[in-house]
Each structure stands twice: as C-alpha cells, then as structure tokens.
C-alpha cells in the first residue's frame, strides 16, 4: 500500500496553481486535505502524474463573510470551519452536519472544498451545500465560474469541474434563524452515511429536504407546508423516485425504508427548530 510515483508541485498562489493545472490537465490532481485522495493513492486506485498541493496558498485558507453567503476557501479544514465562532448562528445546518464528517483527526486535515470536490454520494458537506442551495467557485486561466451545487455534482464521484479548473471556494447561503435538522445512519460513528437526511425550513414555512446516499448525488425536494402526513407522503414519493441502490451495507429497499423512517423525523425536527 504505497503510492505510485508522481511529481509534486506546491504553488504559492492561485495563479500558479491554475497554471500548473492548465499545463497538466487530467494528469494533475489537486491535493488539499488528502483524506480521500491519499487513501486512494496508497491503494493504487488513483494514478495522477502530478499532485498540486494547494494547502499553503494563504489566499485559499480563508472564511469570508459575504453578507448573505459565507465563502469557505479551498484550504480551509473542516475543523477550522467547525470552530468558526459564527458557524452556529450563520450556518446552523453545517454546525449540525460537520461533526458527522469523518473524525476529529481527519477533520483536522480534510477540507470543506475537498469533500465537495470528491463528490461522494453519501457525504455530508455536499448534502448540506445542496440543501442550502450553495455554490462552487471554480478558477482557471480561462476565468472564474460559479456553479450551483446541483450543477456541480452530477453523479457518484463525478462533477462538472474541468480538468484545468481549481475549486477556490464554496459558498454557503447564510441561514440564520431558520429551522434546520440533520440525521444520518451509518454503520459506525464517523463512517460515510448509508442514508443522510438534512432539512431546512424556508421563510414561508416550506421545507427543503435533502437526501444523501440514495442516488449518485444529493437530492433536494421542496416540500410545501409540511404537516405530518404531507411530510410522510412527500418523503415516500421521494423514496420511490430516487430508488436507492445496493451496496454491502444496504439494499435499495432498505435505503428507501430508511429514508421513509428518517425523513419525517428530520422534517419534524427542523420545523420545531424553526418554531
């Protein structure tokens, strides 16, 4: 379990980083926290020619309050965001979901953007980004693009990032004072979820319900005026539409059943949190 050989580049600025990506394209991989990438390299399941280590680019290591959005730079670790003093107030959904991301030790190095970039279908941060309607900021020598979460993550481990693009930040809309709830089922504490459910109550009392682990990417539905039975109906419909999938830990049927059980509870928790 040792990585194949690769070249290592540690740019000092975003411009340098995107220049390296432009030069190497698909052969390059961005190394941020490396909590997924290094494991893949050790298992020889990834084969980059060049690793571009962006962790020492000071400009990327920032959490910026843009007013209606919080912008989290690509080098910001999950624990740094978790320790950000305004997190609970401005991004309560992330405050609820981040403790489920890996473990203390992996959050010390794993980045918020890296988790979004990796695009695991059941991981927590992409789910939160999707439910909140957040954005991904991509930079290349060709310019800057800002994609909505659903335009970014297309499928399991698949995104619309171009090979020469660097994710410089993600932006989470501020959701102060809104009801939120998050739950997940995992085999062990800290594992990737089998099914994860996040809910956000909007200004009109409708609920945005997001689900991870049911499809290739997080799925979000708007559920109007959610009382108990409409919530159950909507969740059931969602379960049927999404179908779920089978892996070692769960069948598709079980995933649907998990969603049916968790969904209404999470909606209820979010509504009560809003009240």
């Amino acid at each position: 379990m040792k990585p194949r050989p690769f070249a290592y580049v540690r740019p000092d600025s975003v411009d340098e980083a995107v220049a390296v990506l432009a030069a190497h394209g698909d052969d390059a991989r961005v190394l941020a926290g490396g909590q997924s990438l290094l494991a893949l390299l050790n298992l020889r399941l990834a084969d980059p020619a060049v690793l571009v280590d962006i962790t020492r680019i000071a400009a990327l290591d920032q959490i910026c309050d843009l007013g209606d959005k919080i912008e989290v730079g690509a080098a910001v670790t999950q624990n740094r965001l978790l320790a950000w003093p305004q997190l609970a107030e401005k991004l309560p959904l992330l405050a609820a979901a981040l403790p489920f991301v890996g473990h203390f030790q992996t959050r010390n190095k794993g980045t918020v953007c890296g988790s979004v970039a990796h695009a695991d279908p059941s991981s927590e941060i992409p789910l939160a980004l999707a439910v909140l309607g957040g954005e991904v900021v991509l930079r290349s020598q060709r310019g800057t693009r800002v994609l909505s979460a659903d335009a970014f993550q297309k499928d399991m481990l698949t995104t619309t990032r171009e090979p020469d693009e660097l994710i410089t930040a993600v932006r989470f809309p501020v959701n102060s004072g809104r009801g939120v709830a998050f739950r997940e089922v995992a085999r062990r504490h800290g594992d990737f979820a089998i099914v994860a459910v996040a809910a956000l109550v909007d200004g009109q009392g409708a609920v945005r319900l997001g689900v991870g682990g049911m499809a290739g990417a997080p799925a979000v539905r708007q559920i109007a005026a959610a009382d108990g039975s409409t919530a159950r109906g909507a969740v059931d419909k969602m379960a049927v539409e999404l179908e779920g999938y089978e892996d070692l830990h769960a069948t598709a049927v079980m995933r649907r059943d998990l969603l049916r059980r968790l969904g209404p509870v999470v909606i209820d928790e979010a509504m009560r949190c809003a009240a």
Partner: protein, 171 residues
C-alpha cells in the same frame, strides 16, 4: 513554488520533537514511512495506511493528523511531534501517559501512540471536555485489545474528572 519531479529525491527538512532533521525522499513517500524509516522515529505506528485506524496519528504544528494520509513533503518546514516527545528526558511519563498506565488503557500498545497524540492536541484545545466529547475524539482510533473502557477512564483522568488512581502498587 516547490516542485519535485516524479523520480527525484529531495531533501525534506522538518522539526521532529524539537530537533531539526532532514532526509531525502521521493514525493510519494508517506510521512509515516519517513518518520519511521528515514528518521528512525518508530514510536509512530502504521495499522492500515488508509486513514481508518489512527495508529499513525502525529502532530503537525500542534494539530493531530494521520501521518499515513500525509506526504513527507507536506510536512516540510513544519513542526512535527510524535509520541517520543511526551515523556520527560529522564523517562518520567506525563500526566496523560500516567493516566493510561493507571487505568490499564493499553494492552499491546500498538494503537496507543496515535491515541496519545490525538488527545495531546485535543486536550490542549479543550482541557475540560465532556465524556461524550472524549468518546467522539477517541472514535477516530481503532483499538483491538482493550474494548476501550480503560482508555476512556484514562482520558477522564487526564481531563481532570478522576483523581489519578495510583491504586495499583507501584511497579
């Protein structure tokens, strides 16, 4: 911009337990291997090399990380601390280490260095954690021997909840 070619070996300098050290390494060299085999600090253990077990946990600039998910070159210029740094020069154990001995928190001891390093970081940030917090941080480590009960007791002692139980006769 630091750049090391694929088959090139570069000299990696870092501070290990207070001492400036360096050795040559390819870019792909894992920090865990670099510490153990290039710098001879074998106290850091390797149990999975895919980031799950926590045996390899070390401090980089005070922060506990998996050294198997870190390249040696990423630690370049950093302050790295490993389990060898915990006891005093004369071998006297620090309070965290002593708590582990008091509560029989280790059997084979293979997982132990990683756990000690995680909590060296965590207790420095959060000296008075709840038991739930302690369990949450400890869940980033696998221990096959103890069933964790002794480890939790030791960490509660280290966090000041228990009198140090020097119950066992001194040995």
């Amino acid at each position: 911009m630091r750049r090391i070619d694929k088959d090139q070996r570069a000299r990696i300098r870092l501070t290990l337990n207070g001492r400036a050290l360096s050795a040559e390494a390819e870019p792909r060299m894992l920090l865990s291997d670099f510490l153990r085999h290039s710098l001879g600090a074998t106290g850091t253990h390797v149990g999975c090399e895919h980031g799950v077990c926590g045996c390899c946990t070390v401090l980089i600039d005070g922060t506990a990380v998996r050294s198997c998910l870190t390249l040696a070159v990423q630690a370049e210029g950093r302050d790295v601390r490993t389990v060898e740094s915990l006891a005093a020069a004369d071998g006297t154990l620090n309070p965290l280490q002593r708590a582990f001995q008091n509560h029989h928190a280790l059997q084979c001891g293979f997982c132990t260095p990683g756990i000690l390093m995680s909590f060296t970081d965590y207790l420095a940030r959060n000296p008075r954690p709840s038991e739930a917090d302690i369990r949450d941080v400890l869940s980033g480590h696998l221990c096959r021997c103890t069933g964790y009960a002794g480890i939790v007791s030791a960490l509660l002692e280290a966090a000041g909840y228990r009198q140090s139980s020097e119950s066992g006769s001194k040995s």
